[in-house]
Subunit: 168 residues, 2 copies
DNA sequence: AACTTGGGTATGAAAAATGGACTCAGGTGA
DNA sequence: TCACCTGAGTCCATTTTTCATACCCAAGTT
């Protein structure tokens, strides 16, 4: 997947044609969402982050859980470490030699809301029955995501959201 | 990416070894998050959803914006339509023949919180400067996502979230 | 009739994923 | 000591996707 570094001229030539605030071609390099997708937007990477969120740290455990080819897992793990989303944590079991596991960094843990939102969407809109994966607080309450306005008012899911391009 | 249909035996054999509530290998088919990732977790698909969220409806506009190969775009769009995330909306410009655009269904719009969360993560943790893509309410206030407990209390981002497997 | 345009297909080359074998280091048991 | 085991990878041949470019088609325009 080769993401283009810049938009074609469509934006400039069509800028005056934008009537509604919809139809907003923000150039990819100036879009935080596009950058996030470039960083973690691939199926195996997201599943690896799910494992990490569940506290699975070891190469072989991830390999067994996901059925991912070892070479792909190795490549994705090192990419996530290079990006600062995972870090290696050496550990040793009694009577075993030292090995490294992979755990989320602060930056990696900050992806929790996105993963929770995906989980909620899936439960609400995809077939497959209820999820056995629960994400909860230390005191056992389920965690959910909600859209809010910047002033803290929670939005119901019928509210209209519009995408606009900030003037450069 | 071939996601395994079921876990290896690790879960059953290791079930008693789970000490902390971390290390929770929920089988992939019983995990809503895994199902969401299988449905939309690939880079081009996420970028197409971003276009749709921005109100871009036409094949050629998406092609120009993303630089995606036409064949890949055609394949992804038809998959999204088959999954009920996008729907074709025929339109005709004056003096032009009828064509179809692609717009989000209700199910597709329900992905907004996940995409907003990704955008926020990117702005907070990836380099690249501020995003020009703004998501806001009709009255112009920025929209954000927040983690909450089920009882409505907003969690700050230092709160500990634990993943647990519901008993089957 | 010839030309244009949006919205796709077809095709061959290039890149990535897959699955299985192989490696390597350190610990264990005989 | 030496053969063997294990976790954590690397290597490689085969298959599958992507990529880029060219081509196609239907309706409207000149």
């Amino acid at each position: 997947m080769k993401i283009k570094l810049c938009y074609a001229d469509r934006m400039t030539e069509s800028a005056s044609k934008i009537v509604s605030s919809h139809q907003v071609p923000v150039p990819l390099p100036e879009c935080a969402l596009a950058r996030a997708i470039r960083a973690i937007g691939d199926g195996w990477t997201l599943l690896i982050l799910r494992e990490a969120l569940c506290g699975v740290e070891r190469f072989d455990a991830m390999h067994d859980d996901l059925g991912i080819p070892r070479s792909v897992l190795a490549e994705r793990l090192s990419k996530l470490v290079a990006e600062g989303i995972l870090e290696q944590r050496p550990y040793r079991e009694p009577g075993r030699r030292q090995r490294n596991g992979y755990v989320l960094t602060e930056k990696g843990r900050a992806l929790t809301p996105a993963l929770v939102a995906l989980r909620e969407w899936s439960e609400a809109h995809l077939p497959g029955g209820p999820s056995r994966l629960r994400l909860q607080t230390a005191d056992g309450q389920e965690v959910v995501t909600r859209l809010m306005r910047a002033d803290g008012v929670v939005l119901d899911n019928s509210s209209e959201i519009v995408a606009v391009a900030k003037p450069e």
